[in-house]
Point group: C2
């Protein structure tokens, strides 16, 4: 088998698409993430690859026959590698097919970018021990981490219908809330503790049959790649509804997904060992493999940015709230796949996993406002003098992800953004 790091990762590669050679682009020729685009609202989705500030239409470029992303994702990993090589060759400086491919280029600014694929079942995990500890401490100061955390990659099912492509704004949710110490009937109204969650999405490619678990050794063969994912959360609705069966209306009003899937192939140079702190138990055998120990994690720098309405009006692009790294998560992609299927559960092409909020070990590395504001008790001061405990109407949250490593060209994940619109009840009251 060829080394997973190959000529497509060569830092010296350049493209005839000039914007792809800009040092600031997240989409150099070493990245080649897949997504779906269309030229107008009523058109069909086409499969494209981001290159600089352009999209390459794979079918028009003669690089792909099918038009369904879910079919492409189903391809065996070797076939996907061959496709990646073909695209890399076609886009390289000096490519023999440059003129044909030029016809298949569209500026990203001129197309609508959709969800990367048809999403089947969506599962959200809870893989950041730092997030679980910080949130747990707010409820149980002496015993923040539950006894199962270091053994079980905790996950729960989420709602697929309300997953939105980046750029689709959503209304602040409405619902029942009741503070823990309140008496009498719950209140009903717009959410007051609206939060974002900085996550990665994991796109499942090849399916398994019901009753046939995917071993950890095979797990990554069932994964297409990663995207940015914001699992918006209504903390006050969550606090009242979540016992005993978990979050429901506090999560399913909207989630935002980035349009580009950065493939596992593109991420090969940015792998990290899977690490455990001293005293942590070794994973059970079904969650353990040499590959996972040595290369199971990914070094991806993640950021959450906030642009308030006032910032937008002042022409400010917003400011960074926090930065974390996916390599700090407690459970890896392969462990999520192996755990999800160990009971026989079947995954299907296009299923999506969320990693759960990815926070770092430091207090300023929280992947949500609940962490950064200590449950709303300590407002965050923004550079323009505004403060936030939770999100206000007009706030735009943008997630970013970048992989950087010496000797390699940096690659990025593109944009995952949406703006909070006033609640329907507020609109009706105007």
């Amino acid at each position: 088998m060829a080394s997973p790091i190959d000529a497509t990762h060569d830092a010296a590669l350049t493209s005839w698409v000039e914007s792809a050679n800009d040092p600031a682009t997240e989409f150099p020729i070493q990245n080649l993430p897949f997504g779906r685009f269309r030229r107008d609202e009523d058109g069909d989705w086409s499969i494209g690859v981001a290159i600089g500030d352009q999209v390459l239409d794979l079918r028009r470029a003669g690089l792909l026959r099918n038009t369904q992303m879910n079919q492409l994702m189903r391809l065996p990993r070797d076939a996907r590698r061959v496709l990646r090589e073909g695209i890399s060759h076609a886009l390289r400086t000096g490519s023999a097919t440059e003129s044909a491919c030029r016809e298949a280029l569209v500026p990203q600014a001129e197309v609508q970018l959709g969800l990367p694929c048809e999403i089947g079942d969506y599962t959200d995990f809870y893989t950041s021990i730092h997030h679980a500890t910080t949130v747990g401490r707010q409820f149980r100061p002496d015993n923040p981490l539950l006894p199962n955390y270091k053994w079980v990659p905790i996950g729960y099912h989420g709602r697929a219908s309300s997953i939105l492509a980046s750029g689709h704004d959503f209304l602040r949710p409405v619902g029942q809330t009741k503070p823990q110490d309140a008496q009498g009937a719950p209140e009903f109204g717009a959410c007051r503790r609206l939060d974002y969650e900085l996550e990665l999405g994991v796109f499942i490619s090849r399916p398994n049959l019901l009753g046939e678990p995917i071993s950890i050794a095979q797990a990554e063969d069932h994964v297409f790649g990663l995207g940015l994912f914001n699992d918006w959360s209504a903390r006050d609705i969550q606090g009242w509804e979540y016992q005993p069966l978990g979050p429901f209306l506090s999560k399913n009003f909207a989630s935002t997904l980035s349009p580009w899937v950065v493939t596992l192939e593109a991420l090969e140079p940015f792998r990290s060992p899977f690490s455990r702190a001293a005293g942590d138990p070794a994973p059970l055998p079904y969650l353990d493999s040499p590959h996972n120990r040595e290369r199971g994690a990914f070094d991806i720098v993640l950021e959450a940015w906030l642009q308030t309405d006032a910032m937008r009006k002042a022409g400010s692009p917003g400011e960074r709230l926090a930065r974390s790294n996916y390599a700090d998560a407690y459970w890896t992609v392969a462990q999520m796949v192996a755990h999800h299927t160990v009971n026989g559960c079947n995954l299907r092409v296009g299923d999506l996993f969320g990693t759960g909020t990815l926070s770092g070990p430091a207090a300023d590395q929280g992947g949500s406002l609940m962490e950064l504001s200590d449950g709303g008790k300590r407002p965050i001061r923004l550079s323009n003098g505004e403060t936030r405990t939770f999100l206000e109407d007009g706030d735009t949250v943008m997630l970013r992800g970048v992989c950087e490593r010496e000797g390699y060209r940096s690659i990025g994940f593109g944009e995952c953004r949406a703006t909070v619109l006033p609640a329907r009840s507020a609109l009706a009251a105007r």
Copy 2:
């Protein structure tokens, strides 16, 4: 508007399909449930209606042009009523189209019955206060019902990929377990506390847009009908994994759905008032309507039957474990729809709700073995001398549902059955 109880419900109606006039059939001409069938494994699904021991192929009978159940379900309620009337007329004794329809009849015994539709998102509710109380008592003897129960129709997202049509057996799941008082590492192996859950499935028909809640007054316009649903549960896996985000691998290995959807139109004569015990709070306004109070519940007698391997070998059809009634649930179908969307969450055609385990107020009306065996502490004695706390390999569970009311022809839900096969690990060890 015509009365919802119309000529299609007339108890005097008979069909030229003789088996439909058998007093024992669950599918008289007053029922007309929809399902999907095919003649062989590789064929496409067709839409059929159960009539006696036959299936009427709606397209071959000239009663329907489309072949997609999800398209049929999307039809406005008035159009679905017109279709029901057309089918009823075609199947009545003396029908002018009898000979054409005869060509479109197939014996149920000769076809494969599938899932009724393509299922989108699946949500499981927890609408039986008797179930919630009995289960809660096992964990919190002094305070069985959580404070949110009488205000919030508790629900959580489930897994759609592993929902099986009746008759598809499944392997006992494998996973991590750890009794509450145990020390050290969790165990890994086959589930030892496998249970069934006696539920109804609610099929969503017309979608709503994200951000546009469905009012309780409109809620039933978004529902196609009901089926039987068994939400198999691994109680030992559940006990170890479910904190803090709810059940996951303990549920998603398999659920079993009956092939026939009994429409809301067919259920009209069996409606009941929505009742609350003295002292229970009135529902919040978004969960309350005159229609819901007067006719929001359904009087459906539900039963769970067990056929052990020994019974099967002895030629016994099994025995009834419990009987309950859907009218004893705390929250109605319309309340589930209104609650699910009040935060703006969008439903899509083909989405499925589970009602949650439907137990009655008496101790012998538990809809699961966890209830009937008091958490495994009191084995059930079966008539052949066997005992059960939880399910054993080879056990077949069958759910049944029947509506009976004086002055109306009884209608039934057909079969919802599956057998527990040995765990994969047990197979490998042989």
